[in-house]
């Protein structure tokens, strides 16, 4: 009994420093964010008293609602596209590739460059005088540069699908690796064709990886600032850009705080719904 006591005190002692850092740098600041969102601001500082005015503005103004929904929509699309593009490659590496390790290294090397420059590279590629347009003009395939490549939600989706590819490939690969190969043999022996076998065994068993990847991409990309700022243009602006403007540009901290919290709540709700729906669908498919 005494021994157990001692050990668990040691454990809490070891855990302590990390928890202190998290409380000081995460819980405290988030609490302050929440408190600030219930204040309001005039020219010089916070006004007296508490108010729900900021939440009224965030939920009431249609341009804010539209921006929130657009952020969720763009990120949802990004997750879908990234996972759909990554699944076949993860499948290929897990089941068909000769040198798995080499493929995994080759697939992850592009992610060791600066995130900022990876995103910026797409601006160079898609731009009006960019790589695609100047290349196609040189080849006389187009007479004048295509204007629709950059500064729209499409550019944001392509760029993010590229920037976050590794976060889809690796979890899906791991879940495919875990699929028990004898189950596949059993299915074949019992007369399933390759497609049916894939749909009944491989796909359902790899769903944890797919769901994990989708969440791993959906949650952070809704808060992405760099990509919409560089390639999104007016039609591709997302919630993080608005939050940044409220804080740095307009200087309305309470409104920025309320936007951050509502944004996180909306993203959390969608992520939760998605996970529940995906789990139910996987169960039904089995």
């Amino acid at each position: 009994m005494a021994q157990k006591e001692r050990i668990s005190w040691e454990g809490y002692g070891l855990l302590g420093p990390s928890l202190v850092v998290m409380v000081l740098a995460l819980a405290g600041p988030l609490l302050l964010l929440a408190i600030t969102s219930f204040r309001s601001q005039n020219g010089i500082g916070f006004t007296q008293g508490w108010t729900l005015a900021q939440y009224g503005v965030v939920l009431g103004r249609s341009s804010y609602r539209d921006l929130l929904m657009r952020s969720v929509l763009i990120s949802g699309l990004v997750s879908l596209v990234t996972v759909a593009l990554a699944y076949p490659i993860a499948y290929f590496v897990a089941f068909k590739a000769q040198r798995k390790f080499l493929w995994l290294i080759a697939l992850t090397i592009p992610f060791w460059t600066s995130y900022l420059l990876r995103v910026f590279a797409w601006k160079i590629i898609l731009g009006f005088n960019g790589v695609i347009n100047s290349g196609l003009t040189q080849l006389h395939l187009i007479a004048r540069p295509l204007g629709f490549l950059l500064y729209n939600p499409f550019a944001v989706v392509v760029t993010l699908a590229h920037a976050w590819a590794a976060f889809a490939i690796l979890p899906i690969y791991v879940s495919l690796e875990k699929v028990d190969r004898s189950l596949l043999e059993a299915a074949s022996d019992l007369g399933d064709g390759p497609l049916r076998r894939f749909a009944r065994i491989t796909l359902p068993l790899s769903m944890p990886g797919v769901i994990g990847a989708a969440i791993l991409i959906f949650v952070p990309t809704t808060g992405d600032y760099v990509t919409p700022q560089l390639v999104g243009g007016a039609k591709g602006t997302m919630i993080a850009n608005l939050i940044e403007v409220e804080f740095n540009g307009v200087g309305n901290w309470p409104l920025g705080a309320a936007l951050s919290l509502v944004g996180m709540a909306v993203v959390g709700a969608f992520a939760g719904l998605f996970v529940a729906a995906a789990r139910a669908a996987t169960k039904a498919a089995r």
């Binding site: 050990i7 668990s8 454990g11 809490y12 070891l14 855990l15 420093p17 990390s18 928890l19 850092v21 998290m22 740098a25 995460l26 600041p29 988030l30 302050l32 964010l33 076949p88 490659i89 590496v93 068909k96 590739a97 493929w103 080759a106 090397i109 592009p110 060791w112 460059t113 600066s114 995130y115 900022l116 420059l117 990876r118 590279a121 797409w122 160079i124 590629i125 005088n129 960019g130 790589v131 347009n133 590229h162 590819a165 390759p194 949650v219 952070p220 809704t222 808060g223 992405d224 600032y225 760099v226 993080a240 939050i243 804080f247 901290w253 705080a257 951050s260 944004g263 993203v267 959390g268």
Partner: protein
Amino acid sequence: MKNRGLLIYALAYLAFLYVPVLVLPIFSFNNSEFIAFPLSGFTTRWYQSLMDDSAMQHALGNSLKVGSITALLATGLGLTAAKALTRNRLRGGSAALGFISLPLFIPDIVLGLSLLMVLGWVGLPLSLAAVVLGHLLICLPFALTVLIARFEGFDPNLEEASADLGEDGWMTFWRVTFPLMLPGISASLLLTFITSFDEFLVAYFLSGTEATLPVYIWGQLRFPERLPMVLALGAIILTVSVALVALAEYVRNLGIKKATVGA
């Protein structure tokens, strides 16, 4: 037949991943301020102007400082927390793990802004120390994941045997736990260093007048005539990171061989 289709897809996907990245080195050697085809001859002048840019070098120094301090702190904290979570059966252990992993699910912009507000509220100035604190939040979950996996990967009996043979806790740590954890520690150091070195948004809010490298790059993106130089910088970062990853992989393989010989 089906396999060939998959292989073609895999190669096309590789092209999708690599083409944007290869834009950096290609146009960094292009003798023109405009980043467009046709290429107009080979030059190293962008690399030359990079060497002469003292603001860039200052920012690089800042990023190296922030990255190494963050990596050491995150790995140190992660090591103690991972030991507690794997070796001591703690009440509330999984809640603590969830709490430490929370930054993974919070957008960087919210982490950065809420820290910015706290600094303003307490009256502390924006500084590289503030950036380290922000990066620590982002990096600790990564360090913890890597280190917990490593702790779970070796036999706790080895530690117990050391204790039974009369070593105290500290010596057991240095002579048994630490060497066995070394591959995990180096992986965590590398991962957290690179994450911090590459992080832009939190540093953008917290760095104040002392720009880190990504903050400096962000500032340069507004000036079209500076772009080729930025591309040269990107090409260098790419080369160095690939070299680092290769080195880490080499060290990891050494570790694996040693471990099997020892066992």
